[in-house]
Symmetry: C2
Subunit: 230 residues, 2 copies
DNA sequence: CGAGAACAGAGAGCGGTGCTCTCTATTCGG
DNA sequence: CCGAATAGAGAGCACCGCTCTCTGTTCTCG
């Protein structure tokens, strides 16, 4: 936000802030959000634990920073997946997007838990996170809007109610100004289905058999593409 | 499990175990899983914190007991929802089941987070929980099997792969011995969509507008019923 | 350039946590 | 009735997040 004056002190501050964040990220990946310890980070960085509080006012603030980074990482992965196919290849973009989502989640389970699991801090999702969090839904909505613009349409779908229309109103305004009612409903469903599947898999709710998650997810994604008329 | 000998000591033990569990449950509902404190429970019950460990070997064990109760409560709510309609009224059973799920989750957000959010203990979902956890998916699978038996069929659906078939194999054996491939895929999708929606709502990922969750969920449930051919 | 303000780091300490160990009192089964 | 099993209490350990105070450094500005 702030351009940061180029004083030696400001540079050192930026570097140490980054170092703390990196160390926290590493610890998060190792032991998970619940066991993330400010004191341990300080020990790793060979500094007094109290000094860390010069950079992050609380453990929750540190976690919030990690959450934002996680949202951005995920957003990037999803956008990259979307970009693996030609713009007109809607189905390719969809599967890329979906694979990007699950691939990132499987590779970063603790980060995924931090963002899409139960809220860890006292609650109150910080306002700072919404911009980063919106990247995924924006990518998905854009794809759906592109499908509609290309004359596609989903399988038989109920008309959207006020609720659905209201839910995408904020995003719709600056992403796309016309979105089919049916696509709104199907889009929200696909969104929930994708995250539902990934959450159920990562949080240990898939059947304990020898389920091939990868293959199962592939079928799911293809079916959703069919339903979306891609 | 054990018939429990009727000694005064055994009775007292059972009562205190129950009291601890109840107090823990109340605390869980108030402050959430992360802030649940063995010491606080002991204070509430006016006993030494060390005494609690005579009943639950660790905080995680206590949480596990709460998880099992939560699964059972949810299972009961879902089964009750399913039972609000006549056995042959598949659509009524479906909406009842779905409303039971969300209704319980909204009424018990911390319990829902404990079960379907990110795993709180070190990981390793205890084996004890699976029987209770299976109640929901059993109810859903039974409904889908009943639909198939009644000659219904879902909208155009891809054939199930080995993955899907394997995933329901353990349940299929004692719930229903023949289940359509298409219904397997659609059933798993509906399962993921339902939980995905509830999780996204409860964990704060629904769009920050004035979204009427209730109405949105109703539309979703109806659409899923359509897709399932109910 | 130099003075005063702003900042960074360290250390001690507070109140909290989960959990263990030891000691005593009670209740059980043979 | 007596020895063994059990229950409770209390002290204590190692950790946690966080605050406060003190010192040294680096900045800004007259």
């Amino acid at each position: 936000m702030v351009p940061a004056p180029r004083t030696a002190r400001a540079v050192a501050r930026a570097e140490l802030t980054r170092a703390i964040l990196d160390r926290a990220k590493a610890q998060l990946a190792e032991v998970g959000p619940a066991a993330l310890s400010v004191r341990q980070i300080a020990r790793d960085l060979e500094m007094a634990s109290s000094a860390v509080y010069r950079y992050f006012p609380s453990r929750d603030a540190l976690l919030t920073a990690l959450i934002i980074e996680a949202y951005d990482d995920l957003g990037e992965a999803v956008e990259a997946g979307d970009a693996t196919a030609e713009r007109a290849d809607l189905r390719g973009r969809w599967t890329g997007l979906a694979r990007g989502l699950r691939g990132w989640a499987v590779a970063h389970p603790h980060e995924y838990a931090l963002t899409y699991g139960s809220p860890v801090p006292g609650y109150a999702a910080p306002q700072d996170t919404i911009a980063s969090a919106a990247r995924v839904s924006t990518a998905l909505l854009t794809l759906v809007a592109d499908a509609h613009a290309a004359g596609r349409s989903p399988v038989a779908t109920r008309p959207a109610t006020e609720a659905e229309l209201a839910s995408i109103a904020p995003v719709r305004s600056f992403v796309v100004d016309e979105l089919d009612e049916a696509y709104t409903v199907r889009g929200l469903m696909a969104w929930a289905t994708l995250f539902g599947n990934v959450s159920l898999e990562l949080f240990g709710h898939m059947y304990r058999g020898v389920l091939d998650y990868e293959a199962h997810y592939a079928t799911l994604v293809e079916q959703l593409a069919d339903d979306l008329g891609l």
